[in-house]
């Protein structure tokens, strides 16, 4: 009976004792859905020594937290996580579940969908709900972002979706906000498990990456050559930004692959995004369009990037960049000269 299913859940992904940013974003998005449906919003959390994280979930909008705390869940592994999560879902029957479209979020959601035999919409960027029919409307870009598809799951519950990071907005945390913790047991033994995580190798250079940048200075093929990219680094240095770029620039070898922005690279949403010599292909735009303030410099007045920006300068990037560097230096000096890295 699908009427038995009530409530909106968010998978709370934990990394090294901290909640992943995307999970907080999804609590924000989930809050909105739960309010519309007039049901509680819950986080569900699996891990080892993770009880302390429940309060963070409450502060970011959850009314309830379902959790399983077990040494077996120290590192993510599909089977024990699926086992625990499926148990929670079968017992408490939520109507909607959101997962971050991360390595582990996608992996887990796919396994759960098959285990409990329900629908799963992949890599969504827009969420809504038809309150009357209690139908979850999850939309995703298709065919390179040229078209959006709204996927429905009418006859199965829960209705599930993975959601791209950096698309939804977390609510401002409300200190002291409280909720209910519901705890369950995992009931598995290590020796029954078929996979082991032997080691986790973290690339610390990648950590200070695009995802966390508040300002991004991005360059495209219009920068001319690799040498001109130095201007971008110089500008980025002055304003405390991270440099990124288009796929064409990565393919030309001017920039490392992990700094590619777009459909097949990173999705970013910094406070300021500068685009220099970028044409504004849809595959690039889907990765940066959620930035708060977008400024484009392109010598072609008809470049598509101007359709995706707030302010545009029609001109030569190699002429504008030195001027920007100079003007920012002067302005920063006047305002105290320090960049606040919030």
């Amino acid at each position: 009976m699908i009427e038995e299913y009530k409530g909106v859940w968010v998978f709370i992904e934990e990394r090294e004792g901290e909640i992943a940013g995307v999970s907080l974003e999804l609590l924000g998005a989930g809050r909105d859905l739960a309010n519309k449906l007039e049901v509680p919003l819950a986080g569900f959390l699996l891990g080892n020594n993770i009880k302390g994280l429940a309060n963070t979930c409450f502060e970011y909008g959850a009314d309830e937290v379902y959790l399983i705390d077990d040494p077996i869940l120290q590192n993510y592994r599909t089977e024990p996580f699926m086992h625990g999560a499926s148990h929670l879902i079968r017992k408490y029957k939520p109507e909607i579940i959101l997962y971050g479209a991360t390595s582990n979020g996608k992996d887990l959601a796919s396994a759960i969908a098959t285990d409990i035999s329900t629908g799963l919409t992949a890599d969504t960027t827009m969420l809504d709900v038809d309150v009357e029919k209690r139908l979850f409307e999850a939309s995703r870009p298709a065919f390179g972002g040229n078209i959006m598809a709204t996927i429905l799951c009418k006859k199965h519950r829960p209705q599930m979706a993975t959601v791209r990071p950096k698309v939804m907005k977390a609510l401002p945390p409300e200190k002291g906000r409280n909720g209910t913790v519901i705890e369950e047991k995992l009931g598995l033994e290590e020796k029954s498990l078929r996979t082991k995580v032997l080691e986790i190798v973290r690339d610390t250079t990648k950590k200070a990456s695009l995802a966390d940048a508040h300002i991004i200075v991005a360059g495209g093929k219009g920068m001319g050559d690799e040498k001109n990219f130095q201007l971008l680094y110089e500008f980025a240095d002055v304003i405390g930004a991270t440099v990124g770029g288009t796929r064409d620039v990565v393919e030309a070898g001017w920039l490392d692959h992990h700094l590619q922005i777009g459909q097949t690279g990173e999705t970013v949403s910094p406070k300021i995004y500068f685009a220099f010599g970028i044409s504004g292909a849809i595959q690039h735009v889907v990765g940066m369009k959620n930035s708060e303030l977008i400024i484009a410099v392109n010598k072609d007045p008809n470049a598509a990037i101007f359709d995706a920006s707030h302010y545009g300068i029609v001109g030569d990037a190699m002429e504008i960049l030195p001027l920007l560097i100079q003007e920012f230096k002067a302005a920063l000096e006047k305002s105290g000269g320090v960049m606040e890295h919030v």
Partner: protein, 271 residues
Amino acid sequence: MHIVVCVKQVPDTKIIKVNPKTNTLDRRGVPAILNPYDGHAVEEAVRIKEQVGGKVTVLSMGPPQATEVIKKCIEIGADAGYLITDRRFAGADTLATSYALYNALDKISKNDPIDLVICGLHAIDGDTGQVGPGIARRLNIPPVTKVIKIDEVNESEKYIKIHRKIEDGYEVIQSQLPCLITVEKEINEVSYSPMPNMIKAARYQPVIWTVDDFEGVDIAQLGLKGSPTIVGKMWAPQPPEKAKILEGSPNEQVKEIVSTIFAEKSELFGQ
């Protein structure tokens, strides 16, 4: 070592039409290719076979023309291919797709037990990445997604050691065999096919199965009928508002943009 690779035929270009009545893909006139990730999957299987011996089988679900991608896999070095094709498979979402492929894998393994299943990380058309983990669940074998390297395949002790990509690095995972892995493109470079493979591929005809070849299959779980998700509607995203194009000399434009940024994003600049 018996490795089965699941391979999908996908449209080559972005020029795909959508049938407005059914909201499904209209593939007519669009050239079809082997899903690029699946090419890497077959390549990896062939490399494992070269190391430890055994056999590489490929499996595809699709229209009769999907024979072409199976031939392509034979070129890369696969030994045998199966195509499951039937109107009753059509319109499947990922749940129904994994059910159909599971039935074929189950039948293949009856004659020739499977040690390892390899899938691509995702297919470039549907682009969900959900089919691989779905198959693993149905076969009740552990899945490891996003594999970028195979460190060791130990046939006698029946385990595999692999690197799995995560957001900020990779994990080293040991998994019992049989298991299912999905591979990233960076796992290998697909090598040029040797001439004998090309000749074999040209003549190759895969084994073709329909729904009727699967004993005890639950038809209600196949195709459009067996799919919990449906495409509700397709729509073009709203074109964004045009940028405010600044005027004046380059110097004036830059001055204006800097003061705009300071005004709109003062929190970034310690004010």
